[in-house]
Symmetry: C2
Subunit: 339 residues, 2 copies
DNA sequence: CTGAAAGCGCTTACAG
DNA sequence: CTGAAAGCGCTTACAG
């Protein structure tokens, strides 16, 4: 039922070659015929058949996006940004969710590679080898992880973590926990190292805990140990864990930030909505998504090889989950809750 | 570089017709040749070119999914479910985000219609006429909204809302607010009507407020009015609003559920994580997504016309944001905060 | 600047 | 059960 280029050509009195050129390389066509073809196309509601074009050109006009878990606010925001950017570039985006399973991630990527021009893998859990294999099947761009030889966009959290530690130091904290997640996490390495360095620089005693699960439950699981450590502040690997910690603490009548200050990372939608609103290191998810798209499109256009990862800035956002230590404020009447 | 059916055919010593049949209608091929073709295909890593197949068959093997806002946990979960279900059916899913703009929704749907076999529109904001127009471009299935003549899967929240009201009645509440959202919301109509009916049945005085925005901010905006109304309980149109209400109330030292009980709708991930954990009417988002896919696939297969919407059940999940009224418990020493 | 023709890789009546 | 052939709707050297 759809209008074909042949139909348009017939009505406009030109060949299908010309119709095609009008859309793909307009400057190769005389202005007058171009206008005529355009007018007819509009009138007939013509638009090139995608499948036919793909077959003829060898490109699909689609890009694939694979995330570990769409329901995770962190990834949901990246999906939103990628989708928005891709659409503006007149492409389509196929999404898939690996459900946090590295094996599935590889299989999905390999399968999807056949249907798209390129892939964006967000926080991929696969091994470097598997990622290289996927890259053979279709050009990939990594988001939130760097692997030698593959194009990537990352947010070095170092600056943000350092700001977080300095913020705590300024509030008088002298003993702080960091909540690790899996050793396999690239971002955990970055964050842990930056926190350690900053704590040393500021003379803060750092207590490393974990690894815990990178979720709300992981934070809940960590809370009692944090409390027992005697630390007055805790930096979690991400917002969800931070919220888990706060939730558990509050249930035990430990006040946040009165007794213990808590800092997260990501600035997902949750952070601003929680009570207390979460002080957090912002990871610019929207920019990350958009940059990944731009980078992939560059790669597909034959440009920009994978030199060094594109780097975006992270910075601290101070809200309500951090405050001065008891000592700094002078011992309050309700300080009993912590000890 | 990819292996073609011609290559497979040559190696296996058959025609491309046979190769094609092996994959599309295996029973039309002798077992022995079928095995041989399969073996060669596997060895060469052959899989049919999607674009070519689409062109020849007139179907894309993809379905489109349009949601108002991917970053909204409610929609993110639907996306996750749809994507999971579609993949199992060996299709691909294209997603797009209308950014809550009805005009964009229509444009996106119309554009996407050309690239997919069918569309799933989640909580579409477009008019019934626009939806019909979209349905002409490509078969659509509605999720979370019903429109005459269009296939849909909905969750009549009536049962759940009634349970919510009965729960409040059992706890001794006699005055309750309902927080409305836009009059254009199909689900709001359902919920409001059910709450009203149940309140009447239970002899609870109902105070209707709003319309507010269907987000956290909307709940924040409603909180003071709720408090001023003298109601001891509030049912919000959804979880995000409920959380907004609680957040604002807590900041004013109003205890939830001690002073005011709060109930949401949706049971999004947030609900269980908030403090207090939210009592809410569960909307089975995963089933909704899966059912929408199944329904669309049926429609595409030529089956099941749009008789009446597929209906899923909603039920109450009791957590911590609801409790007995002061009077029921006997006036507590700290009841001053509310009055 | 424009057109005729070949080709992209599959599927599917039509014969046999 | 299997193959030759046409066709799906475009794009793009190649001529002119």
């Amino acid at each position: 039922v759809a209008v074909t280029s042949a139909k348009v050509a017939a009505v406009a009195g030109v060949s299908t070659s010309t119709v095609s050129r009008v859309f793909l390389s307009p400057d190769q066509v005389t202005a007058s015929t171009r206008e005529r073809v355009l007018a007819v196309s509009r009138q007939l509601g013509y638009s090139p058949n995608r499948a036919a074009r793909s077959l003829a050109m060898g490109r699909t006009g689609a890009i694939g996006l694979i995330v570990p878990d769409i329901a995770n606010p962190f990834f949901a925001e990246v999906v939103k940004a990628v989708q928005a950017r891709v659409r503006r570039k007149d492409h389509a985006v196929l999404v898939a969710d690996s459900d946090e399973k590295p094996g599935d991630e590889r299989d999905i990527a390999l399968a999807m590679a056949k249907q798209v021009d390129g892939l964006i893998l967000v926080s991929p859990r696969s091994s470097a080898e598997d990622l290289q294999e996927i890259n053979e099947a279709a050009p990939i761009v990594l988001a939130n992880r760097a692997v030698d030889g593959l194009p990537a966009v990352v947010v070095p959290s170092g600056d943000g973590m350092r700001q977080a530690v300095e913020h705590l130091a300024a509030l008088g904290h002298e003993k702080c926990c960091y909540l690790n997640v899996s050793r396999r996490s690239w971002s955990n390495e970055q964050r842990e190292a930056a926190v350690k360095e900053a704590c040393t620089a500021k003379g803060i005693e750092l207590i490393e805990l974990g690894p815990f699960e990178a979720r709300f439950d992981g934070g809940v699981a960590a809370a009692d140990t944090v409390r027992a450590s005697g630390a007055t502040a805790v930096i979690a690997h991400n917002d969800m864990m931070a919220i888990g910690v706060i939730s558990r603490l509050q249930r035990q009548q430990v006040n946040v930030p009165g007794d213990i200050s808590v800092i997260g990372v990501d600035n997902t939608v949750f952070a601003g909505l929680y009570n207390p609103a979460l002080t957090t290191v912002r990871i610019p998810l929207d920019d990350m998504g958009a940059s990944a798209v731009d980078l992939l499109l560059e790669v597909l256009a034959g440009g920009a090889e994978a030199n060094r990862p594109v780097e975006l800035d992270a910075g601290l956002i101070v809200r309500e989950s951090t405050g001065p230590t008891r000592r700094r404020r002078g011992a309050g009447p309700d300080s009993s809750a912590t000890r």
